[in-house]
Symmetry: C2
Subunit: 365 residues, 2 copies
């Protein structure tokens, strides 16, 4: 595997491997299937950072080292017709998130809207997956999660926030949809790692060094902190990104009775158990207007954006969810391509679990 | 009035003037009192762009020219225990917004959470005012509005979005609160106007010129478009700000059965009636956990942020709502200081309505 070329896998082959590997670690089969499906959804949508690339370090190792409880199931601590407060009991984040979002949708189907919080959970993958579960129910889906500390507040230099994403999914006509899934930092840590690997400088507004000064040096940024969306200081709205990141910590960590700063560890201490909290909401569109008319109008709005005049150097305007949708279409054709480093990681998972590694398209041909 | 010095007014004096001026234009007294209170709240919080500075052009002139209906009242088009769809019938945005947010809070008090949309309304001032109405009810308050087109989508150059703010208000202990009220553009148009007046260049990421290229020239930016939070292109997350701006257009304009692109006019056509739509939500904190514990934990979180290490050149870290709160405290002492251009505008309002102008602190002394 000494080249940089990608190896292509059928999605089903990868998912079956994830499922078997987790079952070998004492995860219940239905929970393992959900983790596989959600990591798979991430790879299919081209969000590789949250797909099978994370299987070893985020899930397999944490279970093996006793930090995530593979048998735990969530318990409900408070419940009304429109709300659900859940303690994940340090279970895997994906199956808890999937079940809680589906319960939120079921509540919203009865009540019009519903909201759920989950405390003491673990990394749940892409926020967008959970929000998108609402689409087929003609609802607006919302999800957020907090995460280990990687970012500094505006005007500060300490690690005080995770990348704390928000996701919103809203159905339009003919399967079209608005799907916004965004970290509240300018960029994720992965962008700094890529810049370092390529020997390229960072963009201004991505990171500060350990002294709190803006830096273009990837290494210094990794030893410092990420900046909130809007960048350094308030000049370009960094306080807005900081506000959104803090909002995620409030509706997830505080409302969810979970771990919050100062007890939330820096994300370098990835092994702390149950530090993650989530937020879910579902809203029935027909509580406000006719669903078909809403979807048609939303498609009109999205298409107006898409067909507006591109700026110089741009081919067209994309709305939130468009790039992921076109990558998903492409991956259905090509299979999922994994970098050598990810292939090697899956081979280590195979060794650690005793489960045969996934076979590439070439091997199966 | 040939100096640049500010004239200071007691808040009550200004509000009484606003109320009388609107009543003289056939606005009902209770509606006029709400407009006065909400413009006043904006000035008190130091958001001068949305205070009495807008009285003449946004409200008085639009009523006089027949674009806002001063006698109109909102009607409810759809209602459930958790939702409210309202048609503002081209009434003033402030009183409609105030009443609808209070109805949303009352519904949430019964149901746990509630959401409202308002279509065919007019400019409602600061989004934060409505969100903050939830605070004393131990609820999370949310509000958003769309607005005339001033901003371009990421990768585009046409005016396709307003500054489309979101506001979130969440109560903490002892009167403390998290209050985020943010436009989804990097900056508001006012920042370009100030730069032009001072002969200063714009910051990169604020605006594009009419060709769609990034510009540092204030005049060119005003003839072009504002950029979404995150700035030009996707490198610094401009697509995230664009996504948030579009989200506001969807939950306000589309969900609210209001006016949306392509029918939403550019904001230069400020006189189009009933083009604005709003969104409101209220969430009971005790649906998820004990309110007192929540507020204590939120105060801890906010104070952890505030007491974290400042970056070089910064005195301290502020969380969302802190700057407005300290300005409000200062204004209680000093009164509200108005620029000569705003004083002149209020004098024109006096002439247009036949209502005696407000008397400054100096005049009343």
């Amino acid at each position: 595997m000494p080249t940089n070329e990608r190896t292509y896998y059928d999605a089903e082959e990868l998912w079956a491997f994830v499922r078997r590997a987790l079952v070998a670690l004492d995860v219940r089969d239905d929970d393992a299937a959900l983790v596989a499906e959600i990591l798979g959804a991430s790879d299919m949508r081209g969000i590789e950072s949250h797909g099978v690339a994370r299987l070893e370090r985020f899930y397999v190792d944490r279970i093996r080292d006793g930090f995530i409880d593979p048998r735990a199931r969530e318990t409900t601590t408070r419940e009304t017709a429109t709300s659900l407060a859940v303690d994940a009991n340090n279970a895997l984040g994906h199956p808890v998130g999937d079940r809680v979002m589906r319960r939120t949708i079921a509540k919203a189907a009865e009540a019009g809207c519903a909201i759920a919080t989950v405390g003491r959970s673990n990394h749940y993958g892409i926020a967008g997956y959970y929000a998108m579960l609402a689409l087929e129910h003609d609802m607006i889906g919302i999800s957020s999660t907090n995460a280990g500390r990687l970012a500094a507040p505006t005007g500060g230099r300490d690690l005080m926030l995770g990348t704390n994403p928000f996701a919103y999914a809203i159905p339009a006509a003919d399967g079209d949809a608005f799907v916004l899934d965004m970290a509240t930092t300018t960029v994720a840590l992965g962008k700094l790692e890529i810049a370092e690997r390529l020997g390229k400088p960072l963009q201004p507004g991505w990171a500060i060094d350990a002294s709190g000064a803006m830096t273009l040096d990837p290494r210094a940024g990794m030893l410092g902190a990420l900046l909130p969306l809007g960048g350094y200081g308030t000049e370009n709205g960094g306080h807005k990104g900081f506000g959104l990141g803090l909002l995620a910590d409030i509706v997830c960590g505080v409302l969810g009775s979970g771990v919050m700063v100062p007890d939330m560890p820096p994300s370098t201490h990835v092994l702390d158990p149950g530090i993650t909290s989530h937020f879910f909401a579902a809203i029935r569109i027909d509580a406000f207007r006719d669903v078909a008319a809403f979807k048609t109008d939303l498609s009109t709005l999205l298409n107006e954006m898409r067909s507006s005049t591109p700026a110089p150097g741009y081919e067209r305007v994309y709305v939130a969810g468009d790039p992921e949708r076109s990558r998903e279409r492409a991956h259905r054709e090509t299979g999922i391509g994994l970098d050598p480093v990810v292939v090697a990681s899956l081979e280590r998972v195979s060794e650690k679990t005793g489960v045969a590694p996934p076979r590439s398209r070439a091997e199966r041909a």
